[in-house]
């Protein structure tokens, strides 16, 4: 009762997906704040080892449903098992990844339980909420922050009256961190009901194609782009490390692509793709008008350039005057320090 539950997704290798480990790290903080247990639900086939790998993240109890009909993920079998588990355990908070699995399963569960669900949260905290209309104060509830309206506003959402409080979070938004390498939790087996057979037959997977990740910068929320000023293909590797750290994608100018620093699919600008991320970090980019045409609608722009007069600086929210090869590692270190 009244615990924090994380629904854990599995990777193609049948290990716990990164997004779920990130949620366990956040879940641990919430559970500690609330003085309750952190619990995880692992649904799959042959996943005992994966379930046990959760302990170092501070998970107290792992509900384990091991059945071959639960792998690979399909909506109805997972819905069947998880909805019963939640009804039985009555957690206070349930967290899901905002992935193709979490965004498929969580809304169906919320609809069934008639509880609130906040999608794509960027921050989760425990706090209180005052309802002016009812003159009622709710303590120790989940404050769920998310961008809305195309990223133009940040809304704080609460679900004061219904339980559980449910939220989804995108991969890379929360930090993944070992809580205690020697932490010991327990496995609680979950019986998989025979009624799964009906759910099992509803949707059949005919084939699956798992591909190497394609380069697709169009949908990226954060873009780290490099220009000719990066100097070499080797130096571009730093942009990949930077983008990986902050959950972004790497883009490039035409000059950088023509020089062979980056693949053509990464080209941004008039002859490449047009992007509108929430953050665009221009590294060693002078800012030709053709390039600006493809990125000037970005919500926030940071320019890192040795030339204080580079045209790109005119449209940047922040200009850092300096050499990218020293500024980026410095910024990465600062970012790591500041991450909650």
């Amino acid at each position: 009762m009244n615990n924090v539950l994380v629904y854990c997704e599995l990777s193609e290798k049948n290990t716990i997906a990164d997004i779920s480990l990130e949620l366990c790290t956040k879940g641990r903080q919430l559970a500690t704040k609330l003085g309750c247990r952190l619990q995880a639900a692992v649904l799959g086939s042959n996943v005992k080892a994966a379930a046990e790998s959760l302990y170092p993240y501070g998970v107290d109890d792992v509900f384990l449903a091991d059945d071959k009909r639960l792998s690979p993920y399909r909506t109805l079998p997972h819905f069947d098992v998880l909805s019963k588990l939640i009804q039985d355990q009555q957690p206070d908070i349930v967290l899901f990844g905002a992935s193709s699995v979490g965004r498929d399963l969580a809304p169906r569960i919320a609809s069934f339980l008639r509880c609130g669900l906040t999608a794509d949260c960027t921050s989760l905290e425990i706090g209180s909420h005052q309802d002016v209309k009812n003159n009622k104060t709710y303590d120790n509830i989940l404050l769920q922050m998310r961008p809305a309206f195309g990223g133009n506003i940040i809304a704080t959402i609460v679900c004061p009256e219904t339980r559980p409080q449910m939220a989804t979070v995108r991969e890379g938004v929360m930090k993944k961190e070992i809580f205690d390498a020697n932490y010991k939790g327990t496995i609680i087996p979950v019986a998989v009901s025979p009624s799964l057979d009906k759910a099992d037959k509803a949707v059949e997977i005919l084939s699956r194609e798992i591909e190497e990740q394609k380069i697709d910068i169009k949908g990226a929320q954060i873009i780290v782009a490099g220009g000719y000023g990066m100097g070499s293909k080797e130096n571009f590797q730093l942009l990949h490390q930077f983008a990986h750290l902050i959950g972004g994608s790497v883009g490039a100018t035409r000059a950088a692509v023509d020089a062979g620093f980056a693949e053509g699919e990464r080209q941004i600008g008039q002859t490449g793709v047009t992007v509108r991320p929430k953050l665009y970090i221009a590294c060693g980019i002078s800012g030709a008008v053709q390039h600006r045409a493809g990125m000037e609608q970005s919500a926030k722009i940071i320019s890192i350039n040795t030339d204080p007069e580079a045209p790109i600086n005119a449209i940047a929210d922040y200009t850092i005057v300096g050499d990218v090869m020293t500024v980026i590692p410095q910024f990465m270190a600062c970012y790591k320090n500041n991450l909650k």
Binding site: L117, T156, V158, E204, R208, L279, A299, F331
Partner: protein
């Protein structure tokens, strides 16, 4: 018996084209100042529905939306592109609905249509990006769901085969009717409005449905039926645009990264 297809659609503010007057002084959204559009992924859903209609005899496509009376515009648009019929769920009692209350109202309206074979909808709407209403309607109707559909592979009166997107790949799934399908932006673009169809229905009144018409429990509608409450709204992007020049000192970079994290940008 005819084959019934429903498309769930939404008229949304065009969040990609927000102007300076898009926000009220108190931080709420000034909807009147925003142009509206047919939610892009709902148009993709309409196209997939029309393709099913093209390959099944006697199939009909009905578009269902919820919103103010002006949302009738998207029903007219959908009809000019090939939909047969459509109506707007419009009632002050629906106002303030979160995804749970919205999916309840939509599912009650769909129940009034009798046996529906397939329901299509966009994966998500650009004003909320939640992707919740589709799966929630499927749950309320107790039918299976296929989310993140990219391509219609095959369909007959009994079953549908869809290619759907995963994080790192795709999968082909087959479901038997009835089923609900949510469609992503990677699917085919919608066919254009047909001038003849547009003119023919120019004077038609679009049906408006209210809360009394859908056999609903009034406590489950609108703000009252919505478990999620907005505690606070902060305006981010439309705030005064600053242009700051920084020297690459430890202190300046530290402050910048802290600010970006605090503003939910990083």
């Amino acid at each position: 018996m005819s084959f019934k297809i429903v498309v769930l659609a939404k008229q949304v503010p065009d969040t990609h084209n927000v102007g300076a007057d898009a926000m009220n002084a108190d931080g709420t959204v000034n909807r009147a100042a925003l142009p509206t559009v047919f939610n892009p992924e709902d148009l993709k859903a309409l196209e997939m529905a029309l393709r099913v209609k093209d390959s099944i005899q006697d199939a009909t496509v009905t578009v269902v939306t919820m919103g103010p009376p002006r949302a009738a515009e998207i029903i007219k648009d959908a009809r000019s592109r090939g939909a047969d019929d459509g109506f707007v769920l419009s009632d002050m009692r629906f106002a303030g609905a979160d995804t749970l209350a919205t999916s309840y109202a939509l599912s009650q309206a769909i129940k009034q249509l009798g046996n529906v074979d397939i329901i299509f909808g966009g994966r998500q709407a650009i004003d909320g990006d939640t992707a919740q209403v589709g799966p929630q309607v499927a749950e309320k109707l107790e039918i299976p769901q296929i989310t993140y559909a990219e391509e219609l592979i095959a369909v007959d009166t009994k079953s549908i085969t869809i290619r759907r997107r995963l994080e790192r790949g795709t999968e082909c799934v087959k479901a038997t009717m009835p089923v609900l399908v949510t469609v992503t932006s990677a699917a085919n673009d919608c066919r254009f409005p047909n001038a003849h169809r547009l003119l023919r229905q120019a004077k038609d009144e679009i049906r408006m449905i209210n809360a009394d018409n859908i056999d609903a429990d009034m406590d489950r509608l609108g703000l009252k039926g919505s478990p999620t409450k907005v505690k606070k709204i902060e305006n981010v992007v439309l705030a005064h645009k600053e242009s700051v020049v920084l020297q690459p000192t430890e202190e300046a970079l530290n402050e910048l990264s802290a600010t970006l994290i605090k503003e939910h940008i990083l």
